[in-house]
Amino acid sequence: MSPPATTSSAVQSADALLDVDQIGISFGGLKAVQNFSLKLPRSGLFGLIGPNGAGKTTVFNLLTGVYRPDCGQIRLGSTQLGRGKPHEITAAGIARTFQNIRLFPNLTVLDNVRLAGQLRNSRGLLDTVLRTRGYHQEENGLREKALNLLEIFELQDRAEELASNLSYGHQRKLEIIRALATDPKVLLLDEPAAGLNPQEKRMLAHSIQQIRDRFQVAVLLIEHDMPLVMEICERIVVLDHGVTICEGVPSEIQNDPRVIAAYLGGGLEEN
């Protein structure tokens, strides 16, 4: 596969694809995320790390509209997203996977992918009931597109099985396929390596880079597996207690005393 098209030098450029400016949210008195900013370039591959409870998934929920930010701006390309509903944000081009897998268990693998593919071209009730030519064309297109995706990820043989019957690793994979089926510009992966064995993690790392290149998406990755994050991410943001404590390229992050303190819980002088 070709090397990554974009390098970290593009990071600070003004034409970031996803531009998050000072967003924050509180739940009661708890400031879950404060002043979170991020500039994710086109085809960038960034990591978001931090100890448990640091607010990583909350950031994802803010970016995808599950929570509405109390303050701050989110811009995707030239679109302001800040207060959009989740389905509008998905349609605008941000797709995600979930930390605890959230497939549609009683739908087939194919239907899981088809459902994600249909968001921009849904036919009306009348077309559906009368089974018009346009309806058939669209359904055929959706099926074709979904099978193509499944084939790319070598899951086409399982297309007619229920999603709940897939193995854990395949379910994780299907989540990624499903997110890609929405034709995203930005892909948010929430701990995709959780529960995979070392061998599978290595392949996942390779896959994520390939996905980025082949589908031309920018990727933001939450992951606890440090070797994986350090290997593939161009830039890393470290969160602790809802606050960004550090941002930089992997080598900077690895040696940053604040990061080590956040993970190991010690004071700075102990390092």
Partner: protein, 376 residues
């Protein structure tokens, strides 16, 4: 190989079998259903007698109600127990139109014209009007479903049925005399003269096997086509996982309201059929929760989202009490026991999420392994 994505670079070459649309082909199932309905109308009463023909009519109406409720409860996963409210609302609307419409047009509230005669067309148009009115009510009830889940939504829909019941009890006496009706001022039409607590008597009895099974055909075709379509998948995704559905771009508010409106429409039409059925006097208590509960039981017993399963349950639960008329007072006890039994041995319902033909269709192991180099 589990977590891997070795992105195969080649494109899919062969296309899956494309089904091309043809408007006439799309109407085929409906035409077939209408043909069967016509045959039933002319030959069934002769074959099995009036008593059983009446039960077959009841079964048809019940299936329409259960299958439509299944769009909300089974497919979209919104627990509604106010379905009889929509039915009764539609029934009263339709009955009002035919009763007073007949007086206005033909100076008599009696039946007018024979099979497919003008009276029957007024009747079926009034049923559609009843459906539309119920659909409007469905829209109103659907709105709170955007904010409420589970038990809370169930209570709202339960309350809706009770509201319909109480309001209908407050209506005025029917106007029996044509001259009185024609001379009636607005004051006598408010509240609407639809019989009050005793029910709406004197509605012309137009309902017959043809119309019931024609409506049933359309209901099932619509429900089935919905289920297999993008719209239906979106509804099912709301049932499966709302958060994930949103993340996949599904407008869950729209899907929920659409489900409520569609279910209410068919319930309203079925209510029209019910109100014009021989031997029936539609009354406010039809909107109560007992009748709603009957339909909920059918969807639960049949299986969430399974159209054939729910149809089967509707047939069983309508036919059995009729066959066991002498034991009618035990009906609710039997229902309760049946439900407990089902929840213990088969909580997913008779057919679960499947349709009946899925059971003797061998599970398809693979769609196609197209690429020769695609190894597992």
């Amino acid at each position: 190989m589990v977590g891997t994505v070795s992105l195969s670079t080649k494109n899919r070459e062969q296309k899956s079998e494309l089904r091309t649309g043809n408007a006439l082909l799309g109407l085929l199932p409906i035409a077939a259903g209408l043909g069967i309905a016509t045959l039933m109308h002319f030959f069934l009463p002769g074959l099995i007698g009036q008593f059983y023909a009446r039960i077959v009519t009841d079964i048809g109406i019940t299936i329409v109600l259960a299958v439509s409720l299944n769009i909300v409860n089974g497919m979209t996963g919104q627990f509604s127990i106010g379905h009889a409210g929509f039915m009764t609302l539609g029934g009263y609307t339709a009955a009002t139109i035919t009763y007073y419409g007949s007086m206005f047009l033909w100076d008599s509230a009696g039946k007018h014209g024979g099979f497919l005669g003008s009276g029957e067309w007024l009747f079926i148009a009034s049923c559609v009007a009843g459906g539309l009115f119920a659909a409007f009510a469905g829209y109103i009830v659907g709105l709170p479903s955007l904010r409420l889940r589970g038990d809370y939504l169930a209570i709202v829909t339960l309350g809706f049925g009770e509201i319909v019941r109480v309001i209908l009890q407050q209506t005025g006496k029917t106007i029996d005399d044509v001259e009185d009706f024609k001379n009636a001022g607005w004051a006598q039409l408010i509240p609407p003269p639809v019989g009050g607590a005793v029910g709406f008597d004197g509605v012309p009895k137009y309902t017959n096997l043809f119309w019931v099974y024609a409506v049933l055909t359309i209901t099932i075709v619509v429900a089935y086509r919905l289920k297999g379509s993008s719209l239906g998948r979106a509804m099912i995704s709301v049932r499966e996982d709302e958060i994930a559905a949103q993340a996949m771009g599904v407008n869950i508010s729209r899907q929920k309201v659409l489900a409520f409106v569609m279910a209410a429409f068919f319930a309203g039409v079925a209510g029209g059929l019910f109100a014009h059925e021989r031997g029936v006097i539609i009354s406010p208590k039809d909107a109560g929760f007992q009748r709603s509960f009957d339909y909920v039981i059918m969807t639960v017993l049949g299986g969430r989202g399974s159209i054939t399963g729910v149809t089967l349950a509707a047939v069983l639960l309508t036919a059995l009490p009729e066959m066991l008329r002498d034991f009618e007072q035990y009906r609710l006890i039997v229902y309760a026991l049946l439900l407990i039994f089902m929840m213990l041995v088969r909580p997913q319902g008779l057919l679960g999420i499947h349709e009946i033909w899925n059971f003797w269709q061998r599970p398809k192991s693979s769609v196609k392994s197209a690429s020769p180099e695609a190894q597992v």
